[in-house]
């Protein structure tokens, strides 16, 4: 029961708890917060895996930006608790067992077929410079493509979220 394993289990527990809580909570804002917890814990896992940069970016981008957007939208639309519907009950009765069995099966297979090779702390020094090397040399094209993608996403978001009446006002 090494220190490393303890940390892993701690963060993992937070992850699992957050994920389950995301499902359990009825109010979107709680789900959002539990998701943030999951992401923070995941950042911890990344640190354990020696990927400090990824961990930092995880916190900044996911927890710091994307989830802020979610929370922002939740506040903006003042989302209320979700109400039960017939479809939801059906989905619940079907979905949860299915997902549980699926995950259990996967876990079983993975554990059954995985050797005992372990991952040590900092086994791979994910130093920013190395990552930069990869990102801007080997993966330059995908990088640019993603940049274009995100540009398009920005424009799409602007267009979609712009109020129709505002455009109407522009017209007259």
């Amino acid at each position: 029961m090494s220190f490393h394993l303890i940390l892993f289990l701690a963060f993992g527990a937070v992850c699992v708890g957050g994920a389950v809580n995301l499902l359990a909570q009825r109010h979107p804002i709680n789900s959002a917060l539990s998701l943030i917890a999951v992401m923070a814990a995941l950042a911890g896992e990344y640190l354990l895996l020696g990927a400090e940069f990824v961990a930092a970016v995880q916190v900044i981008v996911y927890a710091g930006a994307i989830m802020v957007l979610f929370v922002f939208v939740i506040m903006l639309l003042n989302a209320a608790e979700e109400e039960e519907t017939r479809g939801s009950r059906v989905a619940f009765l079907l979905g949860v067992p299915g997902v549980l069995t699926g995950s259990v099966l996967t876990a079983w297979v993975v554990l059954r077929h995985s050797g005992t090779e372990a991952v040590a702390i900092g086994a791979l020094p994910g130093h920013p410079t190395d990552i930069a090397q990869l990102l801007f040399h080997d993966f330059l094209l995908p990088f640019e493509v993603t940049s274009v993608l995100i540009l398009i996403a920005i424009m799409g978001a602007v267009v979609l979220a712009s109020k129709p009446e505002s455009t109407a006002r522009k017209v007259d």
């Binding site: 479809g87 079907l94 979905g95 699926g102 099966l105 996967t106 297979v109 059954r112 077929h113």
Partner: protein, 677 residues
Amino acid sequence: MNPMLNLWLIPVLPLAGAAINGFLGKRSSRHAVTTIALFFSGAAFAMALSVVARFSSLTLPYHEYLAHWIRSGTFRVDFAFYLDQLSLVMLLVVTGVGFLIHIYSVGYMWDDPSYYRFFSYLNLFMFFMLTLVLASNYLLMFIGWEGVGLASYLLIGFWFTKDSAAAAGKKAFIVNRIGDFGFLIALFLLIKHFGSLNFDQVFQSITPLGAETAGAGLLTTIGILLMVGACGKSAQIPLYIWLPDAMEGPTPVSALIHAATMVTAGVYMVSRSHVIFERAPIALTVVAIIGTLTAFFAATIGVAQTDIKKVLAYSTISQLGYMFMACGVGAFSAGIFHLMTHAFFKGLLFLAAGSVIHAVGGEQDMRKMGGLRTRIPWTFWTMTAGTLAIAGIPGLAGFFSKDEILWRSYQASWAYWLVGLVTAFLTSFYMFRLWFMTFFGEYRGEADAGHGHANHSAHDRHGDHGHGGIHESPKVMVVPLAILAVLSVIGGYVGVPGSLGGNNQFDKFLGPVFHGSAPANAQNAAVGEKAAPEEETEGNEPKKAASTELMFTAISVVVALLGFGLAWQLYYRNPQLPDKIAASMSGAYQTLLHKYYVDELYGALFVKPLIDGSTRILWQGVDRKIIDAAVNDAGDGAKLVSDIVRHMQSGNIRSYAGWVAAGSAVVIAFMIWMGVR
């Protein structure tokens, strides 16, 4: 080394004329159209003459490679031309007669609204015919073959507003298809077994083979199939039915295509393939029998016809029968000889008939003619020359060629000779019948010109210039008549048989083409002997043969005179007699009048079942019940299925997600299963 002849120009010139007239003629004046058409056909003729001029200096056969067409493995077909004595003869006939008929048509078609179209078609026909004649391989020949079929279709249906014309055109086209089918199969067989379609290669690979006396072999099959094609094109039994209807076309067309050139393509093809036929006795016999029967039957039918052009049509068929008879007995040169002379006098006859029709204002029924001798002297005298020639009156072209054929057929079998003789008698009979009915006795038609106009529209509508009554044709029509008349008088002297003091020039001329190709093996007695007399005629032939030949000549002359006499009896001395005879033996007469009901027979045998079958089975059965039904049911099925499946499209996002998840779950399960296993 051969001088460059530019043979390819000969077909291409008329093509150019056809193109120019076809595309620009509509807007240009009649004179321009005339100039174009005459220039290009004349130029072709001039080229042909130049070829003749340099012919002696050529080493035959002369090949001219133009461009490569099909190259597939070892099999190759080129746009290449081939010139030997045979094709030279054909070349001269086609260009010469064609040119004359072009000239004639200028006068004949002058008033036709689509004058340019006529000449465009005519030039097109020249192009294809020349391609056919000059081709150096069967495939190019086939192209010309089909092309002339097309041209004849276009020209028969030239007045396509007339139902009968359109129908006749279609009939000709379809019947020819049947023949072409056989031809094509023959070509495929040639490719399969000899890997080539070039005349040289095919014949070289065939020459070593022996004759198939044992029974029907490959060559026999090919030969018979080729003969089927020839039957289609050259209107032989059983495919002759299209030619009489083809008279719906303008008379120059009948003269050029359906008498002088196109219909003789079959004969040309057969004699071009003589190497094959000489090794297939059975095929030869088939050819001979078909030719003989055709000659006889067509003649009998011709006896009863009253339409002047129909008479000539049937006589054409029977003359073609003669030619095939000649080929069938291995006397290819004789066949070609007759082909040439026939081109002269039959072209002449048709043109003269056209002139007559023109004179009487579109009337084609001989019973409405008569006494035209004095009214249209030029036509009369030229037609007389033609009639005498075809009837086999000594000294004229038809005499020599027909006599030659009869003599050679006798050498094969007396049966051919006998039927040929009867046919000769019938020929002279119906020809003189036509002659008498047209030119002698009283004029039985209405004299007023106005009536002429009335049935112009029904028939050749050439007479739209209000001509007053009966009148001689213009110079431009008469001159070709005269030239052809001269040709049909003297044309025979190129091939005077030895027995008559000549030494068969024509046969010698064609010698290199036909001789020396006979199969080597001895048991092929039939063809061998038939080939023998030719060599003899060139030199010291035994007096016995000469005397017998003379005797036969005499017999045929007598027969011809008999025919003349009978016709004189019936149609000049007492013209009412024929009706009595017809009444007395009406059964036979009706049969003849209705051409042995062959058309009706074919209609009942092939056409009607075909139509019914395609209506009931193919249209209402297959098309409606299977094809349409399949399509409709497919659509309905799709509708049905999607009607069920669309409930998956609940529009509910989560349900979609559920489907996706389920699918991926299945995939994962499969992968796990694979992994675990």
